[in-house]
Amino acid sequence: MSTPRSPMAPPRTFLWSRRIFLTLLTGFVLIPVYVMLSSSLKPLADVTGAFRWLPTELTIRPYIDIWSTVPLGRYFVNSLIVAGAATVCSVVIAVFSAYAVSRYSFRGKRVFTVTVLSTQMFPGILFLLPLFLIYVNIGNATGIALFGSRGGLILTYLTFSLPFSIWMLIGYFDSVPRDLDEAALVDGCGPLGALFRVVVPAAVPGIVAVAVYAFMTAWGEVLFASVMTNDTTRTLAVGLQGYSTLNDVYWNQIMAASLVVSVPVVAGFLLLQRYLVAGLTAGAVK
């Protein structure tokens, strides 16, 4: 990914300003991360008293307590199921839609793309209540429980990430040479064969980028989850609020739990960032 530019050495002023800027920025980025990490290893007294940079003693107690103060394990599983399913569905559906828009011309294409894009402007609060009504009515009419179930949440989240995903994949698919799937079609693959044997493999970075985005959207959402879930289906983003309870704010446990719930996404994100940059390069920002 290196892009060596000019053979000339950069001037000193540039080097210095780069050093200063990047150091300050690193501080800005890292301080909260450090606070999260160090506070999660402090005893409760340290985090409810005046702030201190270093813990008086290191303890892993918070990491043990977080699992019993609130049913974090269950929330974790719920979040994994919800975010995982929403991601898979969102990616598959976005791939189909983007393929259609990228490779076919058909009536209503413009209406479709514009409508999908414009949903990005909807204030969530506007359709919060109506969405419940719809889910409940679907439940009453068909017996499919969407309200309060993981299914309803999956459906909601996958649709949240859909517009951006479709939009990015259209760009990406457009950049996959058309000759490739033409060739596949000549070889006797159907359109879906061409999609899955040629276009999708060539678009892996874009698809990974979209998947990461969809997963993060579902993993962190608070508003809909707070009203649409119950005790058994509650997700992490809402469940974490359980640490500020009647008695005391267990800041060390909050920080420990925040760290625990962040690790999967951050790790996944960093592992896949190479794809992400590549995906964005060819996709949305071309």
Binding site: L133, V136, T232, L246
Partner: protein, 438 residues
């Protein structure tokens, strides 16, 4: 051509949507049914140290109920931050629990939605009659002249908790009985990084509870007798000012309290950072924070002068939790049976002991278990000098509007800006204008 096609597509979508919305008006089946007699869903409010702690208290009782009746109760403890929203969406959608806890101040507001089963005399008979409950608790179950929207479950009252050691060190002999004494004691305590008392400045509900009692002590109210908002009368303004002045003028509250909203004032008191605490039924909380029962004393909340009583001598709101039945329940008999179980003398004793609250059921309240000095003060307050928050449909909006206004005033006080009668009046005027006009 293209725009015509777009318009046509739009029209199709719109008609689809309207079709969906036409049948989307919630389910308005009148009463409730008994379609599912073997199961109940119960939303409990978070009363104990944590949600998990509450489950440990409640689950054994629910098991007992199942043994007696064969009805399985699915328990969900809903955090306070979500409870009202969950009830609202449940009401709107018709999809909710069978039985639920509500903050008793919400009774009239939720009653107005029509989502809760009214407890007329006939319904009350099924759980042993209205007479089993104390009057003060029944006064917080809905608008006057209408059947109550809920049944009292736990009663609580504000009391003054004081740190005995800090009082002795500061040379204060007795807990303050009037606000002047309270401020004087507070000033003696406020030194060396310690403070007289603590407040939840960013918690609208706490603010409203205090503001309302202060208003009563000034002979005022936030509503006219016919239920219209009247936040800017002189008594109400003076009341709010007196409350905020504890920080702004008397300086017996640390400025940092202006951003407290998560019961930090209880932990401050338990840690000896403050010498006094005005709180409802705090004993269980203080114990779980490691403060021993010998370390603090408990006294009635101060009044302006004289002794606590009715009228302008009130010194607490009637705090508590009510138990309501959701009108859309599909197990009406089971739900009623469950309310009967939860309000039975035996369960009342167990549950109120666990939560250090007072049973609103007379027979249970008479039990010696509730005669400790702490409970004696609370019982006495509830019986003689507690006042119900306004039982009007707009109560929950009132809590938000006035509570937020007081929060902003505390923010002013904390930042060192003057809090004057005018600034209080301006804040309350703004709050009143946010109230529904119909």
């Amino acid at each position: 051509m293209r725009s015509i096609r777009a318009a046509a597509t739009g029209a199709v979508m719109l008609s689809l949507a309207l079709a969906a919305s036409a049948c989307g008006g919630g389910s308005s089946t009148g009463g409730g049914s008994n379609d599912s007699p073997k199961e109940l869903t119960y939303w409990a409010s978070n009363q104990g140290a944590s949600i998990e702690a509450d489950k440990k208290v409640l689950q054994p009782e629910l098991d007992k109920f199942e043994k007696q009746t064969g009805i399985k109760v699915k328990l969900e403890v809903v955090p306070w931050s979500d409870l009202l929203n969950r009830i609202l969406t449940a009401t709107t959608s018709g999809q909710g629990p069978d039985v639920l806890n509500i903050g008793n101040t919400w009774s009239a507001s939720l009653q107005a939605t029509g989502g809760l089963l009214p407890w007329d005399d006939q319904q009350f008979e099924k759980i042993g009659g209205k007479d089993r409950f104390v009057d003060s608790a029944l006064g917080s179950t809905g608008a006057e002249g209408q059947p109550p929207a809920a049944v009292p479950l736990y009663s609580m009252a504000y009391a003054l908790y004081y740190n005995k050691q800090m009082f002795a060190d500061a040379g204060i002999d007795a807990p303050p009985a009037t606000w002047d004494e309270f401020v004087a004691a507070g000033k003696k305590l406020s030194k060396d990084g310690k403070w007289g008392t603590a407040m939840e400045g960013s918690n609208p509900s706490e603010n409203v509870h205090h503001a309302y009692v202060f208003a009563k002590q000034h002979g005022a109210d936030f509503f006219t007798p016919d239920g219209k908002p009247d936040f800017t009368n002189d008594g109400a303004v003076a009341a709010v000012k007196q409350y905020v002045d504890l920080m702004a003028k008397d300086k017996i509250i640390a400025p940092g309290n202006a951003e407290y909203a998560q019961n930090q004032s209880v932990s401050d008191f338990a840690k000896g950072k403050t010498g006094m605490l005005l709180w409802q039924s705090a004993s269980a909380n203080l114990t779980s924070q490691g403060m021993s029962e010998d370390a603090y004393g408990i006294a009635p909340v101060p009044v302006q002068s004289g002794t606590p009583g009715a009228g302008t001598q009130v010194n607490s709101m009637v705090a508590g939790i009510n138990l309501a039945v959701f009108k859309n329940t599909d197990n009406l008999d089971g739900a009623t049976e469950f309310v009967k179980f939860m309000t039975s003398d035996a369960e009342q004793k167990i549950l109120n002991t666990a939560y250090s609250s007072i049973p609103p059921v007379k027979a249970a309240q008479a039990d010696p278990a509730f005669n400790t000095p702490a409970n004696a003060v609370l019982k006495d307050t509830l019986a003689k000098s507690a006042v119900a928050l306004p039982q009007v449909p707009d109560e929950s909006q009132f809590e938000t509007a006035v509570g937020t206004a007081v929060k902003e005033l505390f923010a002013d006080a904390a930042a060192g800006r003057p809090v004057t009668t005018d600034s209080v009046k301006a804040a309350l005027t703004k709050a009143q204008q946010q109230m529904p006009t119909k």
